[in-house]
């Protein structure tokens, strides 16, 4: 019955209890979507090669998914990373070759074998991962190395297969889209966890009440969602579809994704009668459940949520300095 390999297309080993039947159901439709998107994108790119200006058509195309064969190129263009790379062609090498502090080097090296240990493609890419992380740390002394960046950089590397491109994309993500999440005080992470909670209270108050009653703090549920931009939280294809949109639309997409997780799992969450059951949902359903595996539907549900930049920004003002979420 299983026509899908135990290893997914990015080299990740599927879990023991992976639901192949569910996956097959999903893929039988999604493969058609992918084929159609591939064709649409080829037509689009033959007429538009620049992509630095994201108009409504391009935005719509991106929301519907960038084909994996074009993802690296499109990311480089829409994110601005390609422009940086062109402007500073020697920067990455220089940063890699800078003499590292021992403690910094050690903290990165310790995490190399702990990044995607079960990924078959990744075994040969540890040195590239090191280069990306050390170059980033040297380029941004306020952050240096923060655990979690290894997962972002690792996934970028699996998509781009190019350490220099991954480095520039990592810089765009961390410095432009989620600034001060990964710094020593993680102040913006703490603020945005509080913002997320406020949004849950406004959109699905019964879910918030239930989670509060169970006693599971948002910091336990969602720190990793924001620190890793859902890498190692949701299925790979879903994460990449989210990142497509982050590169074109920015941080607000992360709040959409986080809210969509709560909204699409509302009944499952409400059925949990204690903290253990609740945490199991967040640990297992998100990584391999049907709702998040169906990335196409999940992305659609994200964009059905009413959310404006001004609402998030005003909540951010309100939530500055909070660290009790």
């Amino acid at each position: 019955m299983a026509t899908f390999s135990e290893i997914d297309e990015y080299g990740f080993k599927r879990s023991e209890n992976f639901d192949y039947q569910m996956y097959e159901r999903f893929m039988s439709d999604y493969l058609k979507v992918l084929a159609k998107r591939q064709q649409k994108w080829e037509e689009f790119l033959s007429k538009n090669s620049d992509l630095t200006h994201i108009d409504s058509t391009l935005k719509r195309y991106i929301r519907k998914g960038i084909p994996s064969s074009k993802r690296c190129d499109v990311w480089m263009k829409i994110s601005g990373a390609g422009k940086f790379q062109k402007e500073f062609p020697n920067r990455f090498r220089e940063l890699v070759e800078e003499e590292p502090e021992k403690s910094l080097k050690d903290s990165i090296i310790i995490d190399l074998p702990r990044t995607f240990p079960d990924n078959s493609m990744f075994n040969t890419q540890k040195e590239q991962l090191y280069n990306i992380l050390i170059a980033f740390a040297h380029s941004n002394k306020a952050i240096g190395y923060c655990q979690g960046l290894n997962y972002i950089a690792g996934l970028l590397l699996l998509v781009t297969k190019d350490e220099e491109k991954s480095f520039w994309l990592l810089k765009v993500i961390v410095e432009k889209h989620v600034p001060n999440y990964h710094t020593s005080k993680m102040e913006n992470l703490l603020r945005d966890l509080a913002v997320f909670k406020e949004l849950v209270i406004r959109r699905v108050p019964e879910v918030n009440r239930h989670i509060e009653n169970c006693g599971l703090p948002y910091a336990v549920i969602a720190s990793k969602w924001f620190i890793c931009l859902f890498a190692e939280v949701l299925p790979v294809e879903t994460v990449l579809r989210i990142w497509d949109c982050v590169f074109s639309e920015g941080y607000k997409v992360l709040f959409r994704a986080a809210l969509a997780v709560f909204i699409t799992h509302k009944n499952k969450i409400l059925e949990c009668d204690d903290i253990a059951a609740l945490s199991t949902i967040f640990r297992e359903q998100l990584m391999s459940g049907e709702i998040t595996t169906n990335c196409h539907k999940f992305i659609e549900s994200m964009f059905k949520i009413r959310l404006t930049r001004s609402e998030v920004e005003s909540l951010r003002k309100k939530c500055v300095g909070r660290n009790d979420t």
Binding site: F12, K13, S15, E16, S107, I110, D111, P113, R114, T115, F116, P117, D118, N119, C146, Q147, G148, N150, Y151, H182, T183, S184, K185, M186, E187, L190, L216, P217, A219, V220, A222, S223, K224, I227, C228, A231, E232, P235, V236, D274, I275, A276, A277, S279, T280, R283, E284, M287, S288, N323, D324, T325
Partner: protein, 242 residues
């Protein structure tokens, strides 16, 4: 993506003495039990009470916090355990005499900057395991700082255990057993050297905590351990939870 950590799931089965994951410990009890409420204990006696305790794991990055949890909860070990981001939550249950002790285990990220999240995790904890790596002096110093912080800011009378992990690698030991033991005694901590890899002392450290918990209990039974049910309210409690 890989799901190493995802495999750390709440156990939901009744453990019999034959259960492979949980050899009988040296307290003579086969011990893990699911959290499915009113289950029977291995010897088919009716359970008397369930106590629930919040336990937090703290310590430097890569000392083996998640590995200790994985060993305790699942009986497994991965040479390369994925780094924990933020925190992870798991449960495991032990039986001591006629009492079922359910641990809510809060496993945390070790990197220094995640310290800003730590108070959210140890708030309300009745027990903590502070872990260091016996091959790493810095991790021992960091453990001492965690102990200080817990004694200053966490729940009063929190039961703290110090775990010198990676004890199987004693050929490259730098933190002497006696040094750590003396420090633990001076500070009123439980202390064991552990190995998540070989399982040495892993169940034991959790059991030692479970045994110590009631002894520090204050007047208010809710402060240490929430009593979930009690079938025999008049019975004298002997080992855990008043």
């Amino acid at each position: 993506m890989t799901r190493n950590y995802g495999a750390l799931e709440t156990k939901r089965f009744l453990v019999t003495p034959e259960t492979k994951d949980f050899p009988r410990n040296n307290y003579g009890m086969a011990t893990a039990r699911g959290n499915n409420g009113s289950g029977q204990r291995p010897n088919n006696t009716t359970q008397n009470r369930i106590c629930q305790f919040k336990l937090v794991l703290l310590g430097e990055s890569a000392v083996g916090k998640s590995s200790l949890v994985l060993r305790f909860v699942k009986g497994q070990f991965h040479e390369y355990q994925e780094s924990t981001i933020g925190a992870a939550f798991l449960t495991q249950t032990l039986c001591i005499d006629d009492t079922t002790v359910k641990f809510e285990i809060w496993d945390t990220a070790g990197q220094e900057r995640y310290h800003s999240l730590a108070p959210m995790y140890y708030r309300g904890a009745q027990a903590a395991i502070v872990v260091y790596d016996i091959q790493n002096q810095d991790s021992f110093e960091r453990a001492k700082n965690w102990v200080k912080e817990l004694q200053r800011q966490a729940t009063p009378n929190i039961v703290i255990a110090l775990a010198g992990n990676k004890a199987d690698l004693s050929q490259s030991r730098v933190v002497e057993h006696d040094e750590a033991k003396q420090y633990a005694e001076e500070n009123g901590l439980l202390f064991l050297e552990t190995s998540a890899k070989t399982a040495m002392n892993v169940n034991d450290i959790f059991l030692a905590i479970a045994k110590k918990l009631p002894k520090v209990e204050g007047n208010n039974g809710n402060v240490h351990g929430r009593r979930l049910n009690e079938n025999e309210p008049n019975r004298q409690m002997n080992n855990c939870c008043k």
